[in-house]
Structures are given as structure tokens and as C-alpha cells.
């Protein structure tokens, strides 16, 4: 840093004015105020200068945007229904050009967000950047943290494969430990007492519409409060030196942030390319052998819950995590000293370290337990084999519903089978569709047997009512009696 110089963009704009570009910029600025917007965005002062320690926040913003883009694109092919979700994800993974890559970027992106978020929180904590009128800023960050955990929890179910289904079954079961309202909450989230297609719809809506809306609001609040409070800067240094080394956000910090974003996307890209996200076989709720394991960042919590049984469960599941969460949210209120150097804040740093080391130890214990229990280890190995063989198998398209109706007509009843031939000979299928599925020209016949008995059907075929005639239905008069019986039997068989 040489001698500090105070210039604003306005003054610079003045020096540009004569040039063509300057004139255009001036014209645009008069109409949009882009100059002051750029000024507000880029000239934010960073006390002590740009630093690699400050890249995590913008890294999270970058990842969030990446998740939105990849998520929107995935929605081009995805269907949130228990019938189709797994097929569509398999289609994306196995068939669609670059589908596996984009899905992997999205799925690994959630892990990347967790990692960068932990780095962001740790940096904020160690630098004591939550201090000094930044309680609301910290609180908005906590809300975003919770929303992000909600995003990863709801997103995990969407592929509807075995691990998604069973991990979410366990995850939602935890809710029922909450006294009084637990079961009601669980049913509300699942859309019923059991996991099913309504659970998938709810998780999809939460994942794609509701939580993202809250995240947008949360990010806006977080960034606004951050700009209001100003960058906290380094943890020590006297006012004079800090003032001297203050530099604006642009260009050096912008450069750091861009480099970090590049590192993230390169890492994700390499991972997605060389180790694409897997998809397991479709969820089978009847499987009683399946050993579910949550995503890696939930493993410590999963292990923690193992230690709390019976009457104590509520302590482990609700009281202690609730207390830790409260402690976390209330941090800026509890730790009010202006001191920011971590080595002068031993109590806070120790508690923080204990919690994170504890989570790490729990994760390690879970891993060790799985390895040591031969039954679990072999089941997990089998599950992995299932995933590998599913991934190797070519994509199997789903048989469309209308096909099934047609295929059903491999009829057990020989009379109905004969009726099917007559149905086609007479050209009934030209309007009513193959297998009586209906077309634009005439309604479907599936289920019509429940409405009319055989005699009535025969009568209608011989002499259609006025509504049918108006729709173009001809009278069937040239059929032999036995053929008419067969045709009626066939129409009745359409279910």
C-alpha cells in the first residue's frame, strides 16, 4: 500500500466523461443509478484490507446460485411422485446428456455448502466477528444455517431410492419423540402416518418453493445487516494502521472471492466428472433388511441419538440439541465483551471446539460401529453392491399407464379375448383407443363395466343413446349373437 488516496467513483466518472464509453455510462447512470449501485457494491471498505479469510460468505452465495441453476434445470426432467421420481432421476443419471454431471454438481453442492458454511461460521467465531451490534446479523446467519439443513434434508428424499426413503423414514420418525405434538408434526410433514407419495410432494414443495423463498429473504437480510454493520476486519491492530490499510471490496477482495468460487466449481466439477453421484434401486417400503444411513453431515447426530433410549430419549433428542442451538443463537448476547482475539476468549473457543470435536468423534464412532458389527457391515456392503449393479444396468423406461391397460388384455377369459379381436375388427379402438383407454374422439371404456351390466351394454351397443349418437357412435347391428356377447365381455373386462 502506498499513500492512501481518497477518490470516489463519481470523480473517476468525471475523468471518463469525454470518452464514448464514459458518455454511454453517464447516460445509463442518469436512468438507472448504476454508478451509485456499483459504488455501493464495490467500494465497501474493508478495514485491514482484503483477505482470504473473508471469502467464505461470497463462496456460499456462489454455491447457492449454483444450486438454484442446477436445481431449476433438474426440474426439467424430474417428477415429484412416488411412481415416477425414481425413474426420472434414473433417466437424468443414465440417459440425459450431461444429466449425471448436473445432478452430481447439485448433490455434491449440498455437501460443499455444509463445508463452506462450517468454515464461514468458524471464521466468524474465531474472529469474533459477531461482536459489536451484530446480533441480528448473527441471528440471520443462524436462520440461514437452519434453512440450509432443511434444504439438504428435504432434497435427500427426492430421488426416492432406497437410501433416500429409509433415511427420511428415520429422520421424520425423530419428530415423534417430541412430546404431545410429535406425532401430529410427523404426520403433517409426511402427509399421512406413513411415508408415501404425499411425503414426496411435501418435501418437493419445501425444497423447491418454500425454503428457497425463505433463503432469499434470509440472504437479503444477512447481506443488508452485514453492510449496515460494516466488515469487522482483522482481530487486532490499532486504529491508525487499520485505517491506513483499509481498502475497498473491489478489486482485491473481488479477485479473492472469484478465485475461491473457481476453486469450488473446479472441485465440484472434477468430483462430478470422475465420481458421479450414484442412484440406488427404487425405494421398496416392504424391505425390512435395509440399514439406513443419513448423509455424512448428519451422521454425528445419528450416532448421538443412539445413546438416548426410553424416557431419556427426549433429553438427547430435544433438550440437549435445543440447548446447544439456543446457546449458538444467543452467542452475541452471551459474549458481550469487545475482545475479539480467540486466545483471549478461552471459554467460548473451548466450548466451540468441544462441540465440533464431539461431532467429529461421534461421526468416527458411527463409522467404527458399522465396521465392527458384522451383520451391519455385510448388509451395508450388500446395499452398496445393489447400488453399483443398479448403476450398471441400462435405463429401463417406465411403462406408460395407457400401455398397461392394453397389456392387461392378455385375458384370462377366452370370451373376452375373442371380444378384443372384435373390438379391433369393428374399429372400436379407432375412437375409444386401444384397450379402451379413450381418445380425443371418444371417451374411455375402462370402468364402464362397473356402470352398466352386460344386458345394458349390449342394448347400448345395438342402439346407442342420443348422447352417444351425437358423439358419432354408430349402432352395432351386424354382429352375430355370440360375437356381441364376446364384445360385451371384453368391454366389461376393461378395468
Amino acid at each position: 500500500m502506498d499513500e492512501p488516496q481518497s477518490t470516489s467513483r463519481k470523480q473517476q466518472g468525471g475523468t471518463f466523461a469525454p470518452s464514448q464509453r464514459g458518455r454511454f455510462f453517464h447516460w445509463l447512470d442518469l436512468r438507472t443509478g448504476v454508478d451509485s449501485l456499483l459504488h455501493a457494491a464495490l467500494d465497501e471498505p474493508i478495514p485491514g484490507g482484503a483477505s482470504l479469510a473473508y471469502v467464505f460468505g461470497s463462496g456460499l452465495l456462489f454455491l447457492f446460485v449454483s444450486q438454484i441453476i442446477t436445481g431449476v434445470f433438474l426440474a426439467l426432467y424430474y417428477i415429484p411422485s412416488a411412481d415416477h421420481a425414481h425413474t426420472t432421476i434414473a433417466y437424468i443419471t443414465k440417459e440425459v446428456t450431461a444429466g449425471s454431471f448436473i445432478r452430481s454438481i447439485h448433490a455434491y453442492g449440498s455437501s460443499a455448502i455444509v463445508i463452506v458454511l462450517l468454515l464461514h461460521i468458524t471464521q466468524t467465531f474465531l474472529f469474533g466477528s459477531y461482536k459489536g451490534k451484530r446480533e441480528l446479523l448473527w441471528f440471520a446467519g443462524c436462520v440461514l444455517f437452519a434453512l440450509m439443513l432443511g434444504m439438504s434434508f428435504t432434497g435427500y428424499l427426492l430421488p426416492w431410492d432406497q437410501k433416500a426413503f429409509f433415511a427420511t423414514t428415520v429422520g421424520t420418525n425423530i419428530l415423534s419423540e417430541i412430546p404431545w405434538v410429535g406425532n401430529a408434526l410427523k404426520s403433517l410433514l409426511r402427509g399421512g402416518t406413513e411415508m408415501g407419495t404425499l411425503t414426496l410432494s411435501r418435501f418437493f414443495v419445501l425444497h423447491v418453493f418454500m425454503i428457497p423463498a425463505f433463503i432469499f429473504a434470509g440472504v437479503a437480510a444477512h447481506v443488508y445487516l452485514f453492510r449496515k454493520a460494516g466488515a469487522a476486519g482483522p482481530i487486532q491492530g490499532n486504529a491508525a494502521t487499520l485505517k491506513q490499510s483499509t481498502e475497498p471490496f473491489y478489486p482485491r477482495q473481488v479477485l479473492f472471492d472469484i478465485v475461491f468460487a473457481l476453486l469450488i466449481i473446479c472441485g465440484l466439477g472434477l468430483l462430478a466428472h470422475f465420481s458421479p453421484m450414484e442412484l440406488g434401486p427404487k425405494a421398496n417400503p416392504a424391505d425390512t433388511q435395509y440399514v439406513p444411513r443419513p448423509e455424512w453431515y448428519y451422521i454425528p447426530v445419528f450416532q448421538w441419538l443412539k445413546y438416548w433410549e426410553g424416557a431419556l430419549a427426549i433429553v438427547g433428542i430435544l433438550v440437549i440439541p435445543g440447548f446447544v442451538a439456543l446457546l449458538f443463537v444467543a452467542l452475541p448476547f452471551l459474549d458481550r465483551r469487545p475482545e475479539r482475539r480467540p486466545w483471549k476468549r478461552p471459554a467460548a473457543v473451548t466450548i466451540y471446539a468441544i462441540i465440533f470435536i464431539g461431532l467429529g468423534v461421534l461421526g468416527g464412532l458411527s463409522h467404527r460401529n458399522d465396521l465392527r458389527d458384522p451383520a451391519v457391515a455385510s448388509q451395508l456392503a450388500k446395499q452398496h453392491e445393489d447400488v453399483v449393479s443398479f448403476m450398471k444396468a441400462p435405463f429401463e423406461p417406465e411403462l406408460a399407464g395407457s400401455s398397461l391397460a392394453a397389456a392387461n388384455v392378455a385375458l384370462a377369459n377366452p370370451l373376452a379375448a375373442k371380444g378384443k379381436d372384435i373390438f379391433e375388427q369393428q374399429g372400436c379402438n379407432a375412437c375409444h383407443g386401444d384397450g379402451g383407454v379413450g381418445t380425443a374422439a371418444a371417451p374411455k371404456l375402462i370402468g364402464v363395466g362397473a356402470k352398466y351390466d352386460g344386458a345394458k351394454l349390449e342394448a347400448l351397443l345395438k342402439q346407442p343413446n342420443s348422447k352417444m349418437t351425437a358423439g358419432g357412435m354408430p349402432a352395432t347391428t351386424d354382429l352375430k349373437d355370440e360375437d356381441m356377447k364376446a364384445l360385451v365381455a371384453y368391454v366389461q373386462s376393461l378395468k
Binding site: 470516489s8 441453476i69 444429466g99 448436473i102 485505517k243 478489486p251 475479539r340 406408460a400 375412437c431
Partner: protein, 191 residues
């Protein structure tokens, strides 16, 4: 300015100070252009898989031409009159497949060659059926009549019955099932 100063970051001055070399307009704008071009190229690179993802249905035919088996050539060639055959047609529609049965008629031409006719009447799309007692195809809807070779004999249809593309593989007759536009005098594929 959005940002304010607080008591705990004593260094943050209200005015910004910066490196002279970076603040000179030329250097700053050069860096800005460099950054803009750099980020734009990376963004363009990143959008390549997204474009390919979106364009997948256009770049790859989602309803590939599938050949449906009709039956053994020897067996079909032995028949004197048109034979009705139900063929199974499989269509791909994105991640699903639609399996349907279609009725076709196999006829033997004068030179002994087998031809497959779609049973769909070119008038309004009803199924024409072979009536051996009259030795002709009859459409049950509006009385279209076709000869044993599929040629139009009478009634409202604008053309004869539509021939389907065939091939023989390992003694098996295969057909490429297609739909044709109705009410026009010339055969025109619609799907």
C-alpha cells in the same frame, strides 16, 4: 453509503483509501475488463453442460424407429387372402415407453412379395377390416371399400389403404409402423 462504522472495528474509516496504482483509472478499468472477460468465459464454459442437458430431447430422437415383428415370412406367404396381424409397437416418450398393439394386414402381391397395410382407414381413422365373404376391406364407420391389394374400390376415403415400410430379417417380416394424414389424396407421414 450503506455501511456504517461500529465501535468494535476501530479501523473502518468513513472514506475509502486505496492503492494508488490500482486506483488509476486505466489500471482499474483494465483489471475490470480482464475480470469481466474472465468470469464471462468461465460462465460460458459452465453453461455448456446446461445447454446440452436442455437440448437432450432435440439431439437424441426420443421416439426411435422401432421395427415390430409381424411373423415368419414362410407362414405369411402361404396364406391366400389378407391376414390380420397384431403387432406390438413400442414408442419412447422421454423416460416412459408406450406399448400398444396395432392391427395390420399382410397381403401377397402378384409377384409373391409381401406387403403390409395399416388397418387405419385414410378417411377418418376407423379400422378397416377384411371381409372374406366380399373379398374386400370394409371400413365400419362410413363404408369405405378397398380391394384385396388395398386399392380404393368405393366410398368416401380419398386414397387406398396405406402401405407400411417392411423388411425381412432372419426369415421374419418386420414392419415400421407409422401414422398417415387422413383426408388427403396422397400418403403423408404424421408420426
Amino acid at each position: 453509503m450503506l455501511e456504517g462504522n461500529d465501535g468494535n472495528s476501530p479501523g473502518a474509516p468513513p472514506a475509502t483509501s486505496r492503492d494508488v496504482s490500482l486506483s488509476s483509472p486505466d489500471r482499474r478499468s483494465f483489471l475490470g475488463v480482464l475480470l469481466a472477460v474472465g468470469t464471462a468465459s468461465v460462465a460460458a464454459l459452465l453453461s455448456v453442460p446446461l445447454f446440452r442437458f436442455v437440448l437432450h430431447p432435440l439431439l437424441r430422437s426420443t421416439t426411435p424407429l422401432s421395427w415390430a415383428e409381424v411373423g415368419s415370412v414362410d407362414e405369411l406367404a402361404a396364406a391366400a387372402s389378407p391376414i390380420k396381424k397384431l403387432i406390438t409397437v413400442e414408442q419412447r416418450d422421454g423416460w416412459r415407453k408406450i406399448v400398444s398393439e396395432k392391427a395390420v394386414y399382410v397381403i401377397k402381391q402378384a409377384n409373391g412379395q409381401l406387403t403390409v397395410l395399416s388397418s387405419i382407414c385414410p378417411h377418418l381413422g376407423c379400422s378397416a377390416a377384411w371381409h372374406s365373404e366380399n373379398n374386400e376391406f370394409l371400413c365400419p364407420c362410413h363404408g369405405g371399400r378397398f380391394g384385396a391389394d388395398g386399392k380404393l374400390l368405393g366410398g368416401p376415403p380419398p386414397r387406398g389403404m396405406d402401405r407400411l415400410e417392411t423388411k425381412v430379417e432372419d426369415g421374419t417380416l418386420k414392419v415400421h409402423y407409422q401414422y398417415f394424414r387422413q383426408l388427403v389424396p396422397d400418403k403423408e407421414v404424421i408420426a
